[in-house]
Amino acid sequence: MSEAMPQAAGFRVRASGQRRWLGKVRRILLELRDSIVQAAVSLVSHKLRAALTISGIAIGIMAVMIIFMVQAGIQASMVKALNTLGPNTLFVHKWKWGVNGNDWWKYKNRPQVSTLDWKALQQNTTLPVAIAAMVNTPAVVSMGAREVKNVDVRGTVDGYLDATGWQIRRGRFITALDQELGSDACIIGADIEDAFFKGQDPLGQQIRIGASLRCSIVGIFGRKGTAFGNPQDLRVIIPLATFMRTFGMKRGLVVAVVAPEGKVRETEDEVTAVMRNARHLSPDQDDNFSVNRQDKLLEGFNQTMMATNITGILVGLITAVVAGIGIMNILLVSVKERTREIGIRRALGARRTTILMQFLCEAIMVAIVGGFVGVVMGSGAAALIDMISPVAAAVDPRVVIGGLVGSALLGAGFGLWPAMTAAFLQPIEALRYE
């Protein structure tokens, strides 16, 4: 008996403690709801003031969103494009990819990669699965009175398909014989097909490249879409020899070398050795050519992306501060205006935290509404960019959520100080405020 009593009492204490805790939670929830309603009323009853602050935040969020979305779009198309190059493909070129700035002159003065280099590579290497030399230039392509400008006209050889993974939809590709003869065979991209041959069969038809070169269509590529923000289907391929004859012998080539799976390193070494030999470089001379891999390109690209990333973050920070000052301003005005209300609430039993919560709610609400408008505007801008530019600016849900969460944090951050001044007002002073 005597043992049971304190136990029971202890239980009762615990139960009432729990009830008190529940009561606290209940009170906080009720206060929160009231705060949200008050915040909404406050915004609605000061439409112009709220709208100005909201537009400030919205524009900021939109700007940051556009930067990140365009960037993500560029990155996505870059990665896609790089994947079309193939991870095992090496590119022998005068230029080293992904290099910009100070080394420019060093590369500028190197000799171009020539057909001789290409032939040396073809004859003296053992590892590569495919080798293709290529060169390109933008040119006008016409058929009768119709013409298309800025077509990517490419001279290449029969190994091209193996080296790049492009596929012929109909007809055939350039043969070794075409290259040998410098024939007038050409393969057209899907955009050229659309431009000249609506419903007709292009095979066997003739088109004119530049001013004088007439070519017969022997093959059509399948549609590829865009890469690096450029349409890939606006192209015509002709034999390398024909290209050189027409556009000049001095043009530099890129030689694509496909290494067998898992032997990229060895192939790179072999290609380097053959090239050095072909160019009669003594052991103490540096390479006067570059063997590029796509990951090198990605590296350079990533460096560029990092720069725009930092720009994006800086712009974001600046707009955040500007928008935050706007929030702080509207909240300070609101606190001043409602000083008496604060006094009344405090007299009726509101705690400091209650007042703090009330004004933080208002700040966060302004910010979230601003963030929402910004996200909507940003998405609209992204759709517009997507429509009128080659960059695929996609609305990433993470960007949307980030925009909303970010603006809420912004509101809380910049609203804190004004809300604190409200919470720490003396009730008597606040009640007397006129």
């Binding site: 009170r27 206060e31 007299a347 009730p427």
Partner: protein, 256 residues
């Protein structure tokens, strides 16, 4: 045990250069169910005393016990809770939230007590009925007359069923007839058992309260039945007026 025990309350305002004593030594009790007027001229310290009794401020020294609890040492949050649970305020300038309806104004203190929407509404309607404003519940303060606003404020003070109704010059912003109405309401509430403290500078109002405490320069100088204290006050005021009159007369008489 008295509801309010004021034990040698001193309040000094520190204005940096000088210390201003607002309350010098206030020492009296108020029992549950009393209706007490605190009378004094502006600057007498009666507002300071009201703030301390209302737990809006704490004394510099001395102890203040409300319902047996020493509130002179409580933290800010604890004071807020005491205000919510124990005290119903009625202010001279009504102090209603302008953007909220009468009903919402009356509901407000119940939010800080964690009472749910339905019960809140019921209790607020009940309180508004008590001040006969049930047909004005959805009106905003701007749409109500002064007397109606003060009745909303009284309903708000009553809705929490506080131990103490604390009214600071409740008729100060009203015309005499409406003021009379409000005083009538207080007397009625007193009859129902509410403890009421009415802070005023009008001896006429104090005369109608069962008990009055007169404060001059931060000291209690009279404490007794309202009529008596008010009379003494009037006498003092009368003597003062006479003295001024005589002084003025003397100076006139001195003229050649």
């Amino acid at each position: 045990m008295a509801l309010i025990e004021l034990d040698h309350i001193v309040k000094t305002y520190d204005l940096g250069l000088s210390k201003v004593p607002a309350l010098r030594d206030i020492h009296f009790n108020i029992e549950r169910g009393e209706f007490v007027a605190i009378v004094g001229q502006s600057g007498s310290g009666k507002s300071t005393l009201m703030n301390i009794i209302g737990c809006l401020d704490v004394p510099t020294s001395g102890h203040y016990q409300l319902s047996g609890r020493d509130v002179s040492t409580l933290s800010d949050d604890e004071l807020a809770d005491v205000r919510n649970l124990e005290i119903g305020f009625v202010f001279q300038s009504f102090q209603l939230l302008p953007r909220a309806s009468a009903l919402e104004n009356v509901e407000l203190p119940l939010i800080y007590r964690g009472i749910g929407k339905k019960e809140r509404r019921e209790r607020a309607v009940e309180a508004l009925k008590l001040v006969t404003l049930e047909d004005r519940m959805e009106h905003r303060p701007a749409e109500l007359s002064g007397g109606q606003r003060q009745r909303v404020a009284i309903a708000r003070a009553l809705v929490t069923q506080p131990s103490l109704l604390l009214a600071d010059e409740p008729t100060g912003n009203l015309d005499s007839r409406t003021g009379e109405e409000i005083v009538g309401l207080f007397l009625e509430l007193h009859k129902k058992g509410n403890t009421i403290i009415l802070v005023t500078h009008e001896p006429k109002l104090a005369a109608r309260c069962p008990r009055a405490v007169r404060i001059v320069d931060g000291l209690v100088i009279a404490d007794g039945p309202g009529r008596q204290v008010a009379m003494a006050n009037a006498e003092a005021l009368g003597a003062e007026a006479l003295a001024t009159f005589l002084a003025a007369d003397k100076s006139q008489g001195a003229r050649p």
